[in-house]
Subunit: 212 residues, 2 copies
């Protein structure tokens, strides 16, 4: 059975691709063009009622929300490929904690930067300098916490690469690339070393190759 | 060992209390007053570097982010109290999916309503009617998806009460109470029946009693 992943060209689906590559799970991709509104067709809304990416189909099992999908495969294939959850329930708790931090502290200001700098004027977004400045200020505070954390452990949840680190990769590659704010990573010694490490993993290079 | 829960009087920590009651786990609470800034003291920031609630301490294990904490206890005490994860990994995938929907689709507009209607002018929030109207419009769309989903299964992840339902309770009790928008729930037949069901669970009544 090959896992079908909808919408590979955007950052959230790339979380899923990264996970599938790390777990050595075969998959195929189904392009969904957000700018053409392919995520709002009745067929797509049957799969994902909010019109968001990604969705996976695995036989007759359908699942959406990237962080739910990566948790599912990390658990289902725990002993295959890279272990992304840690050895104990306590490790897994910390993986989930930092995955929530990514979702609630790191992602929202970064998404604003991506939308207002990279995607305006698509999706009706008018570039707003105040939103950009406020989002950068918020992200600086989050990165300062990361710098402290990563001075004490090699990865966010401990001394092992996990879903928490993986989940940061696709949008952070926008930050250091087309968003043009690489200095936010580079001026923090431990964040910079962490980013160099996780963004040079073969899984990410493979995902970039698939999506180019 | 008794679990120590910081910050019980607010909605996010109540997710944790609800889970601990459902799982029949003993706990004690440590009040943290956000309005007095007790979440920004050096000691508190050692526990939770972003100054958010809740945090738990369980022996020498510290964990923050309410949805990470409830996942940890639901898994650690899988066979004690109410099973909040479902029987299979596929059930658990759907629980996580709807928990992510709660976090990313349902919670942000509801939090805006709570902040601008209930908490202004605390925390420097100036009541903004445009934010209130836009947030209500977004929440209506989410509730329409819930109405469809709950017409097909009794609870969000299937025919069993789970973390996904539980996570909605504390903030939705603000929506139908002090926010003054009970009609958003009541005018949707299946959402209304679901809310009556989950909000009358003994666990929630006990949490309200603890926090009154």
């Amino acid at each position: 059975m090959v896992v079908k992943v909808y919408g590979p060209a955007y950052a959230s689906p790339k979380r899923v691709l990264l996970c599938l590559v790390e777990k050595e799970i075969d998959f195929e991709t189904v392009p969904v063009d957000l700018i053409a509104g392919e995520n709002l067709t009745p067929d797509y809304l049957q799969l994902q009622p909010f019109g968001s990416l990604p969705v996976i189909q695995d036989g007759d099992y359908t699942l959406f929300e990237s962080r739910a999908i990566i948790r599912y495969y990390a658990e289902k294939y725990k002993t295959q490929g890279t272990d992304l959850l840690g050895k104990t329930l306590e490790d897994q708790g910390l993986v989930n904690q930092w995955l929530e931090v990514e979702a609630h502290n790191y992602h929202p200001p970064l998404l604003n930067l991506v939308l207002h700098i990279m995607f305006s004027p698509h999706f009706g977004i008018v570039r707003n300098e105040q939103v950009i400045n406020e989002s950068e200020e918020k992200l600086v505070k989050v990165l300062d916490v990361y710098e402290d954390r990563l001075s004490k452990s090699k990865y966010l949840a401990g001394d092992f690469f996990s879903l928490a680190d993986l989940s940061h990769i696709p949008f952070t590659s926008y930050l250091v690339g087309p968003v043009g704010k690489e200095y936010m990573i580079k001026e923090r010694k431990h964040v910079s070393a962490w980013w160099d490490d996780i963004s040079s993993r073969p899984s990410w290079l493979k995902v970039l190759e698939i999506c180019k």
